[in-house]
Symmetry: C2
Subunit: 199 residues, 2 copies
């Protein structure tokens, strides 16, 4: 195979959920396209790589050198709520569902002995100062409902133990909407039982 095409396929194949076959299809589609899609994609990548950086306040990717991000600029979002998430895709998911209209804080990972993620790797250094500066009254943990997620959540709570005026909350665990009991794992069922509500 032509080395230029092979290199292109390899680079595409390494992207999330693409793989070798997908990389071949994408490379062929771009090379056979006559509308300049390939060059448009290349310049969009370069533009984004050069001009996008994490918001210095909350970690959401935004225009480099443009100060804080759209969420941190939006005064209507300074309503006391701060949602702690792992990464930007979680922000997008929450924004799409419109369940939350406050500020976000992206910590960028979860504590994990297996992957070697340590407390200093988390973006939490400015959390205490944000709580004071943005008058945060509730911190909502929207981290994955896994051992790593819960460990990270407990660690952050211990770091913020001095912030006595802040309420800490986490998303409810339980049976998902439309979930049938025989398809639900024991762990979820146990959490749903433990958290049952009176009617």
């Amino acid at each position: 195979m032509n080395p230029k095409i092979e290199k292109l396929i390899k680079l595409f194949a390494r992207l999330p959920r693409v793989g070798n076959r997908g990389g071949q299809r994408i490379a062929l589609a771009l090379l056979q396209d006559k509308t300049g899609r390939g060059n448009a994609l290349a310049s969009a990548i370069i533009d984004a790589m050069e001009n996008i950086a994490p918001c210095p306040n909350c970690g959401v990717l935004t225009d480099r050198g443009g100060g804080v991000c759209e969420f941190c600029r939006d005064a209507s979002r300074q309503n006391g709520g701060l949602c702690i998430v792992r990464d930007l895709s979680d922000v997008w998911t929450l924004e799409k569902s419109s369940v939350f209209h406050g500020r976000y804080h992206i910590i960028g990972g979860l504590l994990s002995g297996a992957s070697g993620v340590l407390p200093q790797d988390l973006n939490i250094q400015n959390l205490a100062s944000r709580i004071a500066a943005e008058k945060i009254t509730e911190i909502i943990f929207a981290l994955p409902n896994t051992v790593e997620g819960k460990t990270t959540q407990h660690y952050i709570m211990s770091v913020l133990s001095d912030c006595s005026e802040v309420a800490f909350t986490e998303l409810a665990s339980g049976v998902p909407l439309g979930g049938e009991l025989d398809y639900i794992d024991d762990g979820t069922l146990s959490l749903a039982f433990g958290g049952r509500k009176s009617l």
Copy 2:
């Protein structure tokens, strides 16, 4: 969402088998990557778009301005066999299986009233001259086993009806290796019965 990121996601999402969710994951992976994967990908795309073009002889994508492709240059492949395929991914599939060691000819599409592909859209103008110049003795049709594939095959045979010294063959139809009869469609079964071999 930041317009630069949104644009990047949209361009990725339009690639084959990526979609909106995949586009989001890819864009995030590139933007959060610290090893320069994004810029490497962008320059590989630009390099390929600028320097890759179809081989003037057979249509396989190759270095622009470098004459004919690796297959057409390789004298050991001038053995009288010419395999007609729809596109480059078919060439890659055949090459991987090592069943054929001859020359290829990519026609670039299949005749189809529905998609408006006409005879002049097929890359077959130089087929007759290739047969003479490269001493082709057998043309192997490896087009999709569909109505469009067979229509295109018959059309090409009619165009080449003057080449009486060439044998035309097509790939065998039948039960795939490991195929169980109750999972095979009636059309394939009928072809397999019609083409049954004596033992």
